[in-house]
């Protein structure tokens, strides 16, 4: 990279660019992360005790999680719920992406994409809050269901995981739809036609032709959605109930309510490890490499 820059701008400018980039990477990305790792391995001490005899590296902060049944169950609940959100989002996005890529006329596709994107111009908190209103006990959704006679009394959507699931599928839909759309879009329509022509029904055509082709897109979408879901704070905070707490909320509490940054950092790294583990698993399952996903 340096050589290309040098050829283009000369040595001083090239050095300046590389220097700025290096400083940014080290000072603003790497060092804070390292600092956090360092925090996570040290006990939480009063300022006076730092550097004193009690200071030193320890795994205690990491062990905390495994000794706290509530936190541990929330950790796993976050894992399962995020997997569930990912699958649900995939289920909703696949038909949508297929329709956009292969069935809709260009005009229809453009309109649909616009309608999908417009809500995302609004702040995530507001968007999530609008779901809070929609799903409320005396909210419009219950009103409609009641007036249609589908239910007899209003449902407490926000009293459990339903609200969180709905809110997350909605919030991360686009991160699934776009990779899927890109992948399916690049499939030659004649492949689908050939499969039909050879006698395959539409389920088999999807299973044998479209899905294998879209695999890198599915993997990308799943990884992004999972990471966003697992790391989500606003949705569970707004749409969840005390019984449906997310692991991010516990991390938040350690940092800003417990004031124990060391503990918070350890929890945050455990969540990061979870996400990386999930990513590795998906890549293994789908037999795709990092290069496929970066596309």
């Amino acid at each position: 990279m340096f050589r290309q820059l040098k050829a283009r701008f000369g040595v001083p400018v090239a050095m300046a660019i590389v220097g700025i980039l290096g400083v940014w990477l080290i000072a603003m990305v790497t060092l804070p992360q390292l600092q956090m790792i360092d925090y996570s391995f040290r006990p939480s001490l009063l300022p006076a005790e730092i550097g004193g005899p009690k200071d030193g590296w320890t795994l205690a902060n990491y062990v905390t999680l495994f000794n706290n049944d509530i936190h541990l169950s929330i950790f796993f609940k976050t894992l399962w719920s995020s997997v569930f959100v990912t699958l649900l989002t995939l289920l909703v996005s696949y038909p949508l992406a297929y329709y956009l890529a292969k069935i809709a006329t260009p005009g229809q596709a453009a309109l649909c994409l616009l309608l999908l994107i417009v809500p995302f111009w609004i702040n995530e908190i507001l968007r999530t809050f609008s779901w809070f209103i929609l799903l409320a006990f005396r909210g419009p959704l219950n009103e409609i269901l009641l007036s249609l006679g589908l239910i007899e009394r209003p449902i407490r959507f926000l009293n459990g995981d339903t609200g969180v699931l709905v809110g997350m599928v909605y919030a991360y839909l686009l991160f699934m739809v776009f990779p899927l759309y890109n992948a399916i879009e690049s499939l030659d329509g004649n492949q689908i036609r050939a499969a039909r022509d050879l006698g395959a029904g539409s389920l088999r055509t999807h299973w044998r032709i479209v899905i294998p082709h879209a695999k890198p897109g599915i993997a990308t979408g799943c990884i992004m959605t999972f990471m966003l879901a697992a790391g989500s704070y606003a949705v569970p905070a707004l749409l969840g109930s005390p019984g449906s707490r997310w692991f991010t909320q516990i991390i938040y509490n350690w940092f800003f309510e417990g004031g124990d940054w060391n503990q918070g950092a350890a929890y945050a790294f455990l969540l990061l490890i979870l996400c990386i583990g999930f990513m590795a698993l998906v890549m293994r399952l789908f037999k795709v490499g990092l290069a496929d996903i970066a596309k």
Binding site: Q191, R196, D197, L198, R204, R208
Partner: protein
């Protein structure tokens, strides 16, 4: 196994554009049948109607005498070979060929046996385990044929399958396709815009223009007895001289052609005196005047503009002195040697080798082609069809 295909008054409209005018046609079981026509004339549309990818606006398709109305693509006794082949790139050759059998619930061992047989048939034995991407163009072509044959279709539909191949391979695959068709006895419906291909392989050819079938006949008949000006100019090369009918008698018609006077030829369609008509003479039917007797009526004087070498033949392009129209003349080597651009020469033809067709105002091929390349601009040896008869 009845592989006949009947089109019964099939019409296809897209919004207010009529892609297929009302068409009725019977394709016999076991026949190699081609649709030949220029780009955009509706060939693919017709094939899609037969395979079920499109349902006609009106009319019916019958395969083996069963109506196909409401029968979806995956339940029709047809198989299609796509222009781009559409092999499944993530599957091996075996998996490609076995796909249709797998769909039909055929067990593994039988599938594999069948695939091996088909690979033998298309001369690809032993390549079953290869990924599709490892094959050459011609080999892919064969896999596509094997994949389509695996489902034992009664009718095989081929949409310009050879157009992506180079010249040599194309000629080779023509023979091979014809041989496979004979061996299997399946009805082949082949579409192409290449008249050489259609004439060389087909039992019968339907020549299409602008959504309408112009003529259905065997290749010899199409070449020697075209029924419309379009067929005369699209199938093989032809020189067209337009005029008015003067008389019409004993299968012979005489035209008055402005600037050239009276010229005659066999009458090829309904003609009546006074009506516009055109005389068609093939380049190989024109010759230097001393080679023909001296029937003054069949004489044309022209200014030679180009002489192009084509092996045993020379193709002359010459401008008629009387009308400034360009004609093409194919001459043997002896005569060709003495002719040079810039010379003026007299050409004649035997009226038995020329045909007169009514000029009903329908476009001829040359007038219609616009920017698409003329058939004759392709390599001559490949394209010109000069039946030895």
């Amino acid at each position: 196994m009845d592989g006949s295909v009947i089109l019964d008054n099939v019409v296809m409209r897209f919004d207010d554009f009529t892609a297929i005018e009302p068409t009725s046609l019977e394709i016999r079981s076991g026949e190699f049948f081609s649709f030949l026509g220029p780009s955009g004339c509706g060939k693919t549309t017709l094939l899609n109607i037969i395979s079920g990818f499109l349902s006609p606006t009106d009319g019916d398709v019958r395969i083996g005498n069963a109506s196909m109305r409401g029968v979806p693509v995956n339940h029709r006794p047809t198989a299609m070979i796509f222009q781009n082949l559409a092999l499944f790139p993530l599957m091996s050759v075996y998996q490609n060929i076995e796909f249709g059998l797998e769909v039909r619930g055929v067990d593994r061992a039988t599938r594999r046996r069948k695939a091996d047989e088909l690979l033998e048939l298309v001369a690809l034995g032993g390549s079953g385990g290869k990924p599709v991407s490892a094959l050459s163009g011609g080999q892919k072509q064969r896999v596509a044929i094997a994949r389509a044959l695996a489902v034992e279709p009664r009718v095989l539909l081929l949409d310009e399958p050879l157009s992506a191949l180079d010249l040599k391979l194309r000629q080779h695959m023509r023979n091979e396709l014809k041989a496979i068709q004979r061996k299997t006895g399946i009805t082949f419906i082949y579409i192409t815009h290449d008249q050489g291909e259609a004439l060389a392989m087909s039992d019968r050819v339907a020549v299409m223009s602008a959504g309408r079938i112009q003529q259905v006949a065997d290749p010899e008949t199409l070449y020697h007895r075209p029924q419309t000006g379009f067929v005369a100019t699209f199938v093989g090369e032809n020189n067209r001289l337009a005029g008015r009918v003067i008389e019409c008698r004993d299968g012979r018609a005489t035209l008055d052609i402005p600037g050239l006077g009276r010229l005659s030829g066999r009458s090829g369609s309904e003609l009546s005196p006074g009506r516009p008509a055109a005389l068609f003479v093939r380049p190989e039917s024109l010759s230097l005047s001393d080679a023909v007797g001296s029937a003054a009526a069949s004489m044309l004087e022209a200014h030679i503009e180009t002489v192009s070498f084509e092996g045993a033949w020379r193709m002359l392009e010459a401008r008629l002195i009387a009308t400034r129209e360009t004609v093409r003349i194919l001459v043997g080597q002896g005569a060709g040697d003495v002719l040079q651009p810039g010379q003026t020469a007299r050409f004649g033809y035997d009226p038995d080798n020329a045909i007169v067709l009514a000029d009903d105002g329908a476009p001829t091929h040359d007038a219609e082609m616009g920017e698409t390349p003329r058939a004759s601009s392709q390599p001559a040896q490949e394209n010109r069809h000069v039946p030895s008869a």
